[in-house]
């Protein structure tokens, strides 16, 4: 493994990591008001986005947009500093946000809302900048038109494959699932292209992320009483540990506790450690709360814990672990800030807001 490729990026990522909001400061924000949060954020990395916010009305909505824009800017900056192979992986990470914009455009077309209204749901990123999204929305009358206008990007072809089924059923979720499967597939392929320790770390972190997405899908679909076929349709068919067939077999298990126990027996021995930690966490959380939302929070927390474990397990300066950990920390920071501003606006008590925060403690 060539450690020299990290000589430029590692110090910058460490510096960026130091500028993240400290967990205790984040927890304290839960008891403040939006004006305080806005002024506090002008002293952080969020300053450019906060200053660019429309001044007439301070709301959770405008702050949310600023947080997401900051996340995108941070990702782009790290991509700029990254060596080629890692840049490719980060490019795919940004594709997740591009997919979010495509979903927003498709939803806007189904709901038949005005272009300006639809653009409010879009955060320009990568190849889907505001001008392009506006052009697509203005020149299309329905979902089929949007798909045709996206044919120059890989998303168009992905959507084309399921368009006929969508036309038959009218279920937009089919298109959304296809996009999710594609982007996670790309993410996995990007991780596979890495070498040595980078590959191992990326596969563990992304594998945990995909596994937690699949666990969420299975549990939520089962709670809704969906048929096994429908659950299978929603699963992301990629995993570092769970074989597709084995994961599908767990769908038949009766209750959530038995489901988690069954999952713990599946992982391949060589990669099992981090998955076992995750499964123990969610098993403990579910036994205590018996609540699916709490279990989801435990899954998100376990992703953050995995990142921290990667940093502790391997020397942090010469591998991808630091970059992935920083990106996840940044994402959860954005998510926590979003939870705080929305909670404050809805009059949620600080203690309740703090319970929803995912902090690296």
């Amino acid at each position: 493994m060539n450690v020299w490729k990290y000589k430029r990026i590692s110090p910058k990522v460490i510096a960026a990591k130091l500028s993240l909001i400290k967990p205790e400061d984040m927890a304290n924000l839960a008891g403040r008001n939006l004006t305080y949060i806005q002024s506090m954020l002008t002293k952080t990395q969020y300053r450019p986005e906060i200053i660019a916010m429309p001044t007439e009305k301070l709301s959770s909505l405008s702050l949310e947009t600023a947080f997401l824009k900051n996340f995108i800017r941070t990702c782009e900056k790290i991509m700029e500093w990254s060596p080629k192979d890692i840049r490719f992986l980060l490019h795919v990470v940004l594709k997740k946000l591009e997919v979010g914009n495509i979903k927003a455009m498709l939803r806007a077309k189904v709901a038949n809302i005005r272009v300006d209204e639809a653009l409010e749901y879009i955060t320009p990123v990568g190849r889907l900048n505001e001008a392009r999204c506006r052009r697509i929305l203005e020149s299309s009358n329905n979902v089929n038109d949007v798909v045709e206008l996206l044919l120059d990007l890989e998303y168009g072809l992905v959507l084309m494959d399921v368009l006929r089924e969508y036309e038959k059923t009218g279920v937009l979720l089919l298109l959304e699932i296809a996009l999710d499967k594609y982007v996670y597939g790309e993410l996995w392929r990007a991780a596979e292209k890495l070498n040595g320790l980078d590959k191992k770390i990326a596969e563990t972190v992304l594998g945990i992320e995909i596994a937690s997405v699949n666990i969420k899908v299975i549990l939520r679909c089962r709670a809704m009483g969906s048929s096994e076929d429908k659950i299978r349709r929603n699963l992301i068919p990629i995993s570092g540990v769970f074989e597709g067939k084995e994961l599908e077999e767990t769908i038949e298990v009766a209750d959530i506790e038995a489901f988690v126990k069954r999952l713990s027996t599946i992982p391949k021995l060589s990669l099992t450690r981090d998955y076992q930690y995750m499964l123990t966490d969610i098993q403990r959380e579910y036994s205590a709360s018996r609540s699916l939302p709490r279990l989801e929070t435990a899954l998100d927390k376990s992703l953050l814990k995995t990142n921290r474990r990667m940093l502790k397990r391997y020397t942090p300066f010469f591998n991808i672990g630091l970059i992935l950990a920083f990106l996840n920390l940044k994402w959860f920071e954005v998510r926590n800030l979003r939870a705080i501003v929305n909670g404050i606006e809805d009059g949620v008590s600080p203690s309740k807001i703090r319970k929803l925060l995912i902090l690296p403690i």
Binding site: K103, R107, V110, L173, I177, L292, P293, L295, D346
Partner: protein, 219 residues
């Protein structure tokens, strides 16, 4: 209260008929008062149910709103709004009917029926929404059942109140209109009959006196 006495025949037969009517009216008032009592008891039973149903409804709604706010906090209000653009509306129906209750009154009955269309399909993208959004929708569906039960109880109360007001009007009409009319008519006939009796008695006495005078003259 002025009572219309025109057209009443001041005869004994009419008096007996009116007395019979009065006794019947008294009987009807008794029955109506008993009905009223039964209705008031039922009304209180329904009224007792209302706070508990309302509490259950508020609890279910609060839980649903709390989970919705939680979903908003996790995913962001913008994303929730975006998801709502294409979310399938909850498929349910309310059946209306009637059921027999106290005194054979037909009370409205509302039934909650869940639609079969895509009940087990995820309504929003699972990857873009948290589980609390599903839970919130589920709790709101539970709250709907309480809303319908509350509507049914309130409609029944309205029905009972309507019947109570009809019964009260009937009792009042009997007590304050029919009975005074009958009493006045009875009193009127009794007075006329008494007057007639007095006149007859005087006439008899005069005739007796004249007969006596004629007998004295002849002797």
């Amino acid at each position: 209260m002025s009572v219309e006495l025109v057209g009443i025949h001041p005869t004994r037969l009419e008096l007996l008929r009116l007395r019979r009517r009065r006794a019947l009216a008294d009987g009807i008032i008794d029955i109506l008062k008993k009905d009223l009592e039964a209705l008031i008891v039922t009304l209180f039973e329904f009224l007792k149910q209302i706070p508990s149903i309302r509490d259950q409804m508020y609890q279910a709604q609060n839980e649903a709103y709390d989970l919705f706010i939680e979903a908003k906090m996790i995913t962001g209000s913008k994303k929730i709004e975006e998801l709502s653009l294409v979310a399938q509306p909850t498929d349910f129906d309310i059946t209306t009917g009637t059921k027999k209750g106290v005194l054979g009154i037909s009370f409205p009955s509302f039934g909650f029926t869940e639609g079969t269309a895509r009940i087990s399909e995820p309504r929003f993208s699972i990857l873009d929404s948290p589980a609390s959004l599903d839970e919130s929708a589920l709790r709101m569906r539970g709250a709907l059942k309480y809303i319908i039960r509350l509507a049914e109880a309130e409609a029944s109360i309205r029905e009972i109140l309507e019947v109570i007001s009809i019964k009260k009007r009937q009792i009042n009409r009997l007590e304050y209109r029919i009975l005074p009319e009958l009493d006045a008519a009875i009193r009127y006939i009794e007075l006329i009959l008494e007057e007639t009796e007095r006149q007859d008695a005087i006439r008899v006495r005069v005739l007796q006196r004249k007969r006596k005078e004629r007998a004295t003259k002849l002797s």
